[in-house]
């Protein structure tokens, strides 16, 4: 297979939201991310492009398209091109009839930064969860930046999108997740002492600048901060919630 002009412009188009929307493809860059993609969803991959050095590092059964370093850098537009990319279909959302298996659900409301999104995907997997929900206005999970920063973790997650908080909360309730917690830097129940925080709940992290939207009937939860430094990064807040759930699980199971 050869890197035709058609493929070149296909790959370049995947660096724009419009291009991804039109083709329903995504561009997955970097060795670690490509490996995650192959481990999670090999059937979605259309083809791989790599530089000669990375040829043997690839888990791909079919022959990748090998190009020079210069050609590769021209394709990706990143300063430090990583020498390997895969073009794949965007994984479909799970059907609404497929019940989540996680003890609680984790969600994002209009999270804007692909770096935060990626970090949250990785942390979610490390914490043993399988689903990530998000509202419209959240960064595109299939952008090259989101994939690079998650190291491809999103290929192993079930992502579900909703137009807004309201429809998300409705779906959660339908699935039996009845406690809705909105994270809040200023007021709410202490995340370390709320007994039912992870009991069939939906926990929502908000937009970096404006926080979580409003949702009548939802509870608020906060991370206590002894220092008076204003608010943690969204990814740090997510990490604290996710590993508080891990801690409770370990303590409850009596593992040392």
């Amino acid at each position: 297979m050869e890197l035709t002009r058609k493929l070149q412009s296909e790959i370049r188009a995947l660096h724009t939201r419009h291009g991804r929307k039109k083709s329903r493809l995504c561009c997955c860059e970097g060795l670690r991310a490509v490996r995650e993609l192959f481990a999670a969803a090999p059937e979605l991959v259309h083809y791989c492009v790599c530089t000669p050095e990375l040829r043997t590092a690839l888990p791909y059964p079919r022959e990748p398209i090998t190009v020079s370093n210069r050609e590769f850098a021209a394709l990706t537009g990143t300063v430090n091109a990583q020498g390997v990319l895969a073009v794949s279909e965007q994984p479909p959302e799970p059907p609404a009839t497929l019940l989540p298996e996680d003890p609680f659900l984790f969600a994002l409301d209009r999270l804007g930064d692909p770096g935060n999104f990626g970090t949250i995907c990785r942390t979610l997997l490390a914490a043993g969860l399988h689903e990530l929900w998000f509202t419209g206005g959240t960064v595109d999970p299939w952008s090259d930046k989101s994939i690079r920063s998650a190291l491809g973790a999103q290929f192993r997650l079930r992502l579900r999108s909703f137009p807004d908080l309201n429809s998300m909360a409705q779906q959660a309730t339908t699935f039996g997740y009845r406690n809705i917690f909105l994270t809040d830097p200023h007021h709410g129940e202490n995340c370390f002492t709320t007994p039912d925080l992870f009991d069939h709940s939906l926990i929502v992290i908000g937009c970096e600048s404006t926080g979580v939207g409003e949702l009548p009937g939802a509870r608020h939860t906060l991370i206590p901060m002894p220092g008076n430094f204003e608010s943690l990064n969204a990814a740090q807040a997510a990490t604290i919630f996710l590993f508080e759930s891990v801690r409770r699980h370990f303590v409850a199971s009596g593992v040392k």
Copy 2:
């Protein structure tokens, strides 16, 4: 005051490690970081440069140097120039005779990424700590990237540097911090169940790729990860340790 050629080249030199080492100055960019600098150490500031729109947002008592957007962008070399910067002296390290006040000490061993460094500074302050220790080989705390990503949090911390882990551990012991914990992704005591993890201890986070160095006699501590996604980002690991200390403090003090 005017933006002379001399000042222009002084500012540009602060974007290199060599330039910062020579002048012992640093360049603090962005409104939030500049505000932190003024709140923490106004006496260190030499001058401010800003674009006309940001003139009134500045807390600076003396007149800043106002320049056009184009001139500002040329100074900083960042894609999204933030319209305000301050040139300041690098805060001196506290004298070795000054005892730390924190219940435990947090340290970095050859941490390489300024984004991780900055996030850790912010999280440390939010968790109510005041000191951050680091070994040689750690990213420069006074680089423009470190300052931007910490939003200037390092100006409010006491930073202490050491040639290596050994000399750092010696100093900690001298100060009465006798339990040395090296964080480790693969083996060690569970961070959620180790009773004396924060009891006059020194907790060390390691290099993103090679982890913490070796130190005879030190204990190892790990974050349990139910998911089998390989290793958290260094900043996420730091966040989990720091807020586990916050949690224990809140639980011990009986606050709800």
